[in-house]
Point group: C2
Chain length 304, copies 2
């Protein structure tokens, strides 16, 4: 069991032969979440040998084409593959009407249940939760309504302190309640606080996805302390005015946000095609924050 | 000056790493026509080094995703590239509303004029004509309304018979009227029929695109004698019942249509992914027609 992130595309705007548009897959203990779905995402999923029929959730950040033009095709392919498993889509208002309009026009129906969760007010609160993870949505600052996502692994069980449990002569039937955090009574009827018999569980992994956005310190409370932050870095300092105009970020902006939020690692992506050599982006972000990595199509990051 | 066809994709249904969905470019003396636009077409255009900003016309055969899911992205890219040249789209009813709905939802406008020519009744008649070619639309037989296209090069000028012109002492100023097919008077005032002073122009190149369709002899009058016929051949004989059920053709069906229409060459395409080796399709079509070629992604056919 593990958590990993696969970058399918980290190019900005129009796709090219060498730069796929936005798309990435977060694998949380075998449950696959697709974050954005630019044109060609289904081919990238095949290329990266991801068992994409296992995708149970698709999160769309906003309705710019480079973030969702691959979605109608992927939904159609799921139908062609006789998918039965339900699929949930989280995205901005308008997503459901648009997708259903396209499917209707193409006389395509889906042989699997399709649930839309539109987020009219991404205020940082929980949007969905299942047995493996929780998804929180927060607002980004872009030219159209755009959502950032934070995904948190489900908290695991508390770990049994074997020595303490033996010393207190706790019967086996009480171990499960202990793992769940309950206090229990010993043989003499004395209540023992849970913390004396267990250790804290492994910290949960948290991942945040912020694309596309201008420099926006307001997102800091929503991404504070995450293990990995993917933050767009469309431009270098040399095009800072263009970043302001188009409501995108520079790599330095991304570095500043990572530092303010005290995240563990920063992953830069959503690169303008104008930077054949992206080390300038890495260098400028590193002037603001210590642990920075450049995304590239096909990159896999293991989070534990 | 020449006419050439570049196959961008000839796979049926869902795109894969090795089989792109439908898309092809016909270059008529430098004027580019895109026939269908499956997901990923814009990347294929770049890969094949086609100057795709020169596309002036896009013909969409029908509203199944594997034939047009690349269109919204391509139109957006034209905008990002600051296209100014008008673009004409020919397709079935519903195309314009659908595309404009998608562009509106993505807050994308086009900085270039976009003209839709929807073909409510594809009866074989002329749909558009410009200085280089004419486009005719005819009905195919598929599970949804589907259009076949025949594109004809514009007729060239008649060729001057230099010997006859000299013998008749025709002045230079009369050569252009002769090229245009007019009869003229000689120095004595005698009318000379054009045919005595000129040769027929080079025969025009005709190309027909028939995808997707069941076996449909009704299309024969619309494709008779074309230089090249691209006809879908989704299945081999072994899956003939599936072809019937899904309103697609077998390679043998395509061969029969080519023979009935007495075309010069047949190009097979729109292959089901189940045939890793497509020579079975070639062989079965060749049992019905002599000049058959298998399409493949990247194939270029020069027509003169």
């Amino acid at each position: 069991m593990s958590i990993s992130l696969t970058i399918l595309g980290c190019g900005a705007a129009a796709p090219t032969v060498s730069a796929q548009p936005s798309g990435q897959v977060l694998d949380v203990h075998g449950q696959l979440i697709l974050l954005d779905c630019g044109e060609g995402t289904q081919v990238q999923l095949r290329l990266r040998k991801i068992r994409f029929t296992q995708i149970s959730l698709i999160c769309i950040s906003h309705l710019h084409g480079d973030h969702f033009f691959g979605l109608p095709g992927l939904l159609s392919t799921f139908h062609l593959l006789n998918r039965e498993k339900p699929l949930t889509l989280i995205g901005p208002p308008g997503l459901e009407v648009l997708i259903r309009t396209i499917l209707k026009a193409t006389k395509t129906w889906t042989c699997y249940p399709l649930h839309f969760l539109e987020v009219p007010l991404a205020d940082g609160s929980l949007v969905m939760k299942n047995e493996a993870f929780s998804v929180f949505a927060f607002p980004l600052e872009h030219s159209i309504e755009t959502i950032g996502f934070r995904i948190e692994e489900k908290q695991g069980l508390r770990k049994i302190n074997a020595v303490a449990v033996e010393n207190a002569q706790i019967p086996r039937c009480d171990l499960r309640p202990l793992q769940l955090g309950r206090d229990i009574q010993d043989a003499k009827g004395t209540w023992i606080p849970n913390a004396q018999l267990t250790f804290d569980p492994k910290p949960v992994i948290k991942y945040a996805y912020a694309s596309d956005t201008a420099f926006c310190p307001a997102i800091v409370p929503h991404i504070r302390g995450v293990d990995w932050l993917y933050h767009e870095s469309t431009f270098a300092d040399s095009h800072a005015s263009l970043a302001l105009k188009t409501k995108h970020s520079t790599a330095r902006d991304a570095g500043k946000i990572a530092a303010l939020a005290n995240v563990k690692h920063l992953l830069l992506g959503h690169f303008s095609i104008r930077y054949a050599d992206r080390t300038v982006l890495l260098r400028e972000a590193e002037e603001e924050f210590s642990s920075v990595q450049l995304a590239h199509d096909g990159l896999v990051i293991r989070m534990e």
